[in-house]
């Protein structure tokens, strides 16, 4: 299934899509595969496989702590591709979420090639703006990958237009100004950001940063096409796949409650 099909299916069911994030290699490579599969078993429509990076400046303590565990356990980029391969082989649609330097170092085209070969559908790039993305734009065309750039509450109309024009698959709306981490309330800036983004694109819009409960998932699914959950799953992962599956099921119910 392509990213577009994932969102189309959710739309046909009149619900939001649920997208679950966990880092590859957390707490070990094998366990991360089990945890990612548990996300889908619980009801996630798509996976966001995190690439561990030494300097995760847009992540709060939960995700940064998890990726640090993965790095200390010796997770390499080749392990990320193998995780993607194993989860997609099990039938789970997956994109990767990565800071840009690992991609640059690997070689942008080589990274795209190996990601596509592993069955990955695209890449979310939290510290790459379209203006700096020429190589990635070309590589994603060459290897048929989706490109997910971010828009933020501080983005001007002009920037939103430029960013969504460079996106393919979906648009990631970072709902708060801040780092990743579960929050008690859905950021008040989120609905307005989604509405502003909607004015510039027909692509589906996923909202991330902070969702952790069924109620929040329902609220976000009320105005966005996809609900992206990360930190809450990372916290749940400490208690194993069963807890992750249960949380995914709860949130999957949320995106159907809207």
């Amino acid at each position: 299934m392509s990213v577009a099909e994932v969102f189309a299916k959710a739309k046909a069911d009149e619900r939001g899509a649920l997208i679950g994030y966990l880092p590859a290699g957390f707490p070990t490579v094998d366990e991360s595969v089990e945890l990612l599969k548990a996300l889908v078993d619980g009801g996630c429509d798509m996976l966001e496989v995190g690439v561990p990076y030494s300097d995760p400046v847009i992540d709060g303590p939960t995700v940064a702590g998890a990726t640090d565990v993965a790095l200390r356990a010796g997770t390499r980029l080749r392990d990320v591709f193998s995780v993607v391969e194993r989860v997609t082989a099990a039938g789970c649609p997956a994109v990767v979420m990565t800071y840009f330097n690992p991609v640059l170092r690997y070689g942008v085209d080589a990274f795209a090639r190996d990601l596509a070969n592993a069955g990955g559908l695209g890449m979310i790039t939290p510290d790459l703006i379209p203006e700096e993305a020429d190589e990635w734009l070309a590589a994603s065309e060459a290897h048929g990958l989706d490109r997910i750039f971010l828009v933020a509450p501080s983005s001007s109309e002009e920037r939103i237009a430029k960013t969504v024009a460079a996106c393919r698959g979906f648009v990631y709306a970072a709902s708060t100004m801040g780092v990743t981490g579960a929050r008690d309330t859905v950021a008040s800036a989120a609905p307005a950001l989604v509405a502003r983004t909607r004015a510039h694109t027909d692509l589906p819009i996923g909202v991330g940063l902070g969702v952790r409960s069924r109620e929040q998932a329902a609220e976000v699914a009320g105005f966005a096409d996809g609900v992206i959950v990360g930190s809450a799953f990372v916290t749940a992962a400490a208690q194993g796949p069963a807890r992750v599956r249960a949380l995914a099921a709860d949130l999957a119910a949320g995106v159907r409650d809207r």
């Binding site: 709060g60 939290p126 933020a152």
Partner: protein, 466 residues
């Protein structure tokens, strides 16, 4: 004979384009640019616009010049280091005395400019990273002067090896947050500052302390430091009657080096040499010689050289000098290296400390350990170039902050002892460990709040919403 040299003013560095500008999006050749979250782009755009505006704003420029004259103490002198030169093959070594600036280093050049800009943007809160603490002290100083709230991120390792500067920042009213992630040094302090900034960007300006980071920082910070080279070039011409053969500077992020190099970029006869922290020797892997040993990549918002492994994970740097202990470097240096216009060489801890001792004893100048790397480099250049050579050295900072480290290095004190204890004097009052009642009282004056913040420095973590 009274000399009127130098005539250059701090504002000249920003008012007059250098002729070596990046492209519109901040690229120096392939380097630089903006590798940051979208959430920060609006703030960077605003900064670019405001910076461009003040470049032609007489009132702003006059205020900057006034502060640098009456507060910083510019121009900084040029000192002939005759006796040091005897150890450098007889070469004539000239020291550009940025150590004599208020707060003790070149960092104030940039900080006063950015603090005034913060006011212009209507922001009320300032954050900064610091390694050696010199940038943190300069920032805390400017914030005290201009009534801005000030939060400084500093790696926990650095808060220990530069404890004096932590105390200075707290005395100046800043909150110092020890960063406990990663290598607990400068790189991690920048990560934490970026997290704070993305969260609080509406009210907060990030006073980045070097010529790294996303556009426009590498250009703007450089321009605020161009005064170093503009003054020095005039001073050398006046003193010696010709240009120097070589200019030496230490390179952490690269701000003092670019500040002095820039005035000589169009003088092809002048060799520009940056000295990087070689730590325990580049062969040991324990060093911070980014340009000598690194490869191109994106870190902290710009494409430049960095120390990284095969997977693009940043490698931890190491140096005895906290201010040079950084695995990245400013993008303009990456371009100068590729062009061959400047060259970069490592200097080990041992070489730097030898130069530290030599300058102290021959000239009566205790340099910052960062700057001692440049002095060691000048000794090397002098021996290579011979007795007719004239070598200009950027003495970027003074060594008060490093007295403990140096005393330990030279075996003057034992483990766990401080230099002040070993010499029989008491540690300065108001040290962060526990100010005496008397000190707290006299410092606090009428305000309880001040006493409280001195007695119990804030130790929170920032940014996150966990």
């Amino acid at each position: 004979m009274t000399s009127i040299v130098p005539t250059s003013k701090a504002s000249d560095g920003i008012r007059t384009p250098s002729g070596h500008e990046p492209d519109e999006r901040g690229h120096f050749g392939r380097y630089g640019g903006r590798f940051v979250p979208e959430a920060l782009i609006a703030a960077l755009d605003e900064l670019s616009v405001v910076y461009d505006k003040i470049r032609g704003d007489r009132e702003f420029l006059d205020e900057l010049d006034r502060l640098h004259r009456d507060y910083t103490g510019r121009p900084s002198p040029l000192t002939d280091a005759w006796k040091l030169g005897e150890h450098a093959g007889g070469a004539r070594i000239l020291l550009k005395r940025e150590d004599l600036n208020h707060t003790g280093s070149h960092k104030i050049n940039n900080v006063l400019g950015q603090a005034l800009l913060t006011k212009r943007m209507g922001k009320t809160r300032v954050i900064a990273e610091t390694g050696a603490g010199q940038h943190g002290v300069a920032t805390a100083t400017a914030c005290a002067l201009l009534d801005l709230e000030c939060v400084i991120y500093m790696g926990e390792v650095d808060t220990e090896r530069q404890a004096l500067n932590v105390a200075r920042m707290r005395l100046l009213g800043a909150t110092v947050i020890p960063v406990k992630t990663g290598s607990r040094t400068l790189k991690d302090a920048i990560n934490e500052a970026l997290r704070d900034w993305v969260t609080n960007v509406d009210t907060t300006h990030y006073v980045l302390g070097t010529v790294a980071g996303p556009h426009p920082f590498p250009t703007m910070v450089r321009d605020f430091h161009r005064i170093i080279g503009l003054e020095a070039r005039e001073q050398v011409l006046d003193r010696v009657g010709r240009l120097p053969d070589a200019v030496a500077a230490c390179v952490g992020g690269g701000s003092n080096a670019i500040g002095i190099f820039h005035a000589f970029l169009d003088d092809p006869s002048v060799r520009l040499v940056g000295f990087e922290p070689g730590g325990e020797g580049v062969a040991t892997g324990r060093h911070g010689a980014t340009l000598s040993e690194g490869s191109p990549g994106a870190l902290h918002g710009a494409l430049s050289y960095l120390l990284q492994d095969e997977d693009g994970q940043t490698k931890e740097s190491y140096s005895i000098s906290a201010g040079l202990d950084y695995p990245g470097v400013g993008p303009e240096h990456a371009l100068l290296k590729d062009l061959g216009r400047a060259t970069y060489e490592p200097v080990t801890d041992a070489e730097a400390m030898e130069a530290f001792a030599l300058l102290s004893r021959t000239e009566g100048i205790i340099p910052a350990i960062e700057s001692a790397h440049a002095v060691a480099g000048a000794l090397r250049l002098g021996r290579e170039l011979g007795p007719d050579a004239v070598i200009l050295v950027n003495l970027s900072g003074r060594g008060d902050k490093d007295v403990d480290t140096a005393a330990r290095w030279f075996g003057m004190i034992g483990e766990g002892e401080s230099a002040a204890e070993a010499s029989g004097t008491r540690i300065a009052e108001g040290s962060p460990a526990g100010p005496s009642d008397e000190a707290a009282g006299s410092l606090a004056g009428p305000s309880d709040e001040a006493a409280g913040s001195l007695a119990a420095p804030s130790d929170g973590t920032a940014g996150g919403h966990e």
